[in-house]
Symmetry: C2
Subunit: 414 residues, 2 copies
Amino acid sequence: MIIVQKYGGTSVGSIERIKAVAERVAKTKKDKNDVVVIVSAMSGETDKLIGLANQIALNPEGREMDLLLSSGERISAALTAMAISNLGFKALSFTGRQVGIITDDAHTKAKIEKITGKMVKKALAKGFVPVIAGFQGVTETSEVTTLGRGGSDLTAVAVAAALKADLCEIYTDVDGVYTTDPNIVPEARKLDKISYDEMLELASLGAKVLQTRSVEFAKKYDVPVVVRSSFNDHTGTLVVKEDRDMEKVAVSGVAYDKNQSKITVTSVPDKPGVAAKLFQAIAGAHIVVDMIVQNISSDGKETDISFTVPKSDNRKALKITEEIVSELGAQDVKLRDDIAKISVVGVGMRTHSGVAAKMFGTLAQHRINIMMISTSEIKVSCIIDSKYTELAVRVLHDAFDLGEGKKGRGKSKG
Amino acid sequence: MIIVQKYGGTSVGSIERIKAVAERVAKTKKDKNDVVVIVSAMSGETDKLIGLANQIALNPEGREMDLLLSSGERISAALTAMAISNLGFKALSFTGRQVGIITDDAHTKAKIEKITGKMVKKALAKGFVPVIAGFQGVTETSEVTTLGRGGSDLTAVAVAAALKADLCEIYTDVDGVYTTDPNIVPEARKLDKISYDEMLELASLGAKVLQTRSVEFAKKYDVPVVVRSSFNDHTGTLVVKEDRDMEKVAVSGVAYDKNQSKITVTSVPDKPGVAAKLFQAIAGAHIVVDMIVQNISSDGKETDISFTVPKSDNRKALKITEEIVSELGAQDVKLRDDIAKISVVGVGMRTHSGVAAKMFGTLAQHRINIMMISTSEIKVSCIIDSKYTELAVRVLHDAFDLGEGKKGRGKSKG
C-alpha cells in the first residue's frame, strides 16, 4: 500500500514528538508499505513568525508573509527526515516547490492548480520515505505561496491523490471526529465513519480536525482519509464515500463556529445586479462569504442583505461593503462580531424529516433567538448570539440523541 | 550608484535592529542609489537550528541540514523586506533560488557556480529594493544548498559582482578591520584601507569580519568592499586593490586562529606519491587543509608530515589519515587540538626585510615555542601552543608598532 501520513503541529511539536513520528513511520514501513510524510510547522512556530511580522508592519505583503511562513514547515520536514534516517530508513525532505505543487498567486491562501510529484515518485521508487513540507507551493513564476491555515491537510490529500495513495492518514492531537466538541459536551462520541459531505459541512462549520478544502479535494479524487491521534493507537475516524449505514441516523453531529462576523446592509434599492456587485467585489478581495440572507421590505422597493465572513476578514469586507453601499445609495452598513453559527449535520436528514423544525424548536425552548438560517441537503445552520453558543450545542446534542451510550453511528464498529 | 548592503546576524538580530536596517536602506535610497540588501539569519537562529538537528542525529545528512539552515535567512529576508516596505519604499524578498544562485552539490559548504540574477535585475529596474536571503543557493537539480559559515558575505560579493555594483557594504557589529583583535589588544587600531590580499590572509587566519571565499571573489571580480558597523555611522574599512600607500608599512595586522587542529603522521616512507594520496583523500572529503610541513628524517628514508585542518573536521580528517597510513605503512598518526596559528600580515613585507626574523625573535624572547612555520609573500604564520595565543598576539602587535598613536596605515585618512 502507499500510505500518506500527515502530522500536524502538535505531532511534531518537539524533538521527542518528532522522534515518535519517526517511530510510527518506521513501523508503517516495516509493515511493507510505501510511506509519504507531510508535516506542519512545529506548534507555535507559525504564530511566532506571524508575531514577528506584526511587530514590523500592520499589513505585511502577502508575498513576504508566504516566504516567512513557509519556513516553519521546511524546518520540521528537514528534522523529521533526519529522525527517520536516524532509525535506519532512507528519507529525503522536500519543499513544496520540489514536490511540484503549483498554485495560483493568491498569496497566503493560494489554491493548488497541479502537482507534478516527479521527485517524490522517484524517491519512492528508490525506497526512500519522502518527507514533504506541508502548507506551501510555488506559482508558475517561481514565487513561494502558502495554502492558508490548515493547508498541510490539503498538501496531504493532494499528494495522496497525485500518487494514487491507498490511504491518507491525518495525525492530530484528537482521536478523530466527534459528534460535537467534547470540551463543551463531555459525553460527545467519536464517530467511526463519516461521509465526505458530512465532514465537509463539519469542517466548514468550524470543527477543526480537517481543513475544508482538503475534504473537498478528498471527495473529488475519492481519497480515503483517516483522522487519528499521533499520541495513541486508536483507530480514528474514517472519512469516505457515503454508504447506506450512514443514513440510519438523522443527525451525525453538532458544530459551532465563532469565527464569523455578520455584516448587514439596510435599505438597499431592490433592483437587479445589486447583490452581484457587492459579492463580486468581496470575492475579488479573496474573502469567502458564508451565509447570505436577503429580506424584502414591506413596500417591495428596498431590501436588507445580511451575510457572514470570516472574522479575520471583517474589517476588509466592511470597507468594501461601505464603498459599494455609497455607490448603490443604500442606507447603512452594520458589523456584528458577537455571533456564532450553530449547525446540525447528517446525511440521514435526506430520509428523516423534521430535523430543521426540531432544531428551531429546541433553540426556542431555551429562549435562544435565531438571526439567520441557512440550510443545505445535509445541514441546518442558525446564526445566534455568541453568548448562547455552548448552551445551544449542549441542548441540540441532547435533542438529537448524539451522546455516549445513545444510538448512533459511533457504535457500529465499521 | 548600485550599492549592495549585507547585514550580518547581529545587525538583524531583533525586530528593532531590522527596523534600523530598514532606516539605513531608506537613507541610501534617498541619496539616489539603487540598493540591494543581503541578510543573514537573525543571530542565534542558525545555532538554534543546528541544536535541534543534533538532538535528533549525530551526523545529519548535509542535504537535510541545508534545507533546515536555509530557513533562517528566508525568515530575516521576508521580515527585512516588510520593514523597508513599511517605510514607504518598494521591497521584494528573494531566496537564493529566486536570485538564480547556482552552486555545486557539496552540501553545507557549496561553491557558487553562477548567478543569473534575472529576478533581481528586473526588480531593481522597477525601483524595488531586492532583499536577498544570504548563505544559500540551489544545485542544477533544484536541491537547496548552503555556502558554509559566513556564506552571506559570499552571497553579497557574488551578487555585487553579478550586478556590477559600485560598492559592496558588509555591515557587522564591529567598526571595521583592526590591526588585531581589540579584545586581546585594547590599543589595536582600525585600518582605513586594506588590500584584498591582506584581507584574504587575515580572513583565512581567523579574523572574523569577512569570510575568506568572499574576499577571493571580491578580488577576482574587483568588487570594492567596505566593512563597517550597522550600529553607528563610522566609515569602516575599505577593502580594495593594493596601492603604493599600503607598502609604506611592513605589517598591517596580527591575526590568530584557534580553530585549527594539527595532525602529524610519523615515519612515512619517503617515496613519491605519498603526500598526494593522503591529501587527495582529504580533499575528496571536502576538508580544507591549511598548513602542511614535511621533514625528512636523518636517514632520508622516512619523513614526518604535519598538517592542519579546521577543528570541526578533525575527527573526519583523522579517520581518513589513519586509513591511508595503514595502507602506506607509516608508523603513527597524532592529533593535537590545543594549538593556535599566529600570523603577521602586510603587503609591505615585500619591500621591508626581516619580518619573519623579527617575528621568530619576538616569540623566542617570550619563550613561545614554534611548532610549524608557513610563509607567503605577504604573511608569516606560526603554529604555537594555544595557551600562549593572547601573549603572542600582544607582543607581536607591539613589536611591529601597530598600536594606537603609532605610525601606520590607520592614521592616513585615505
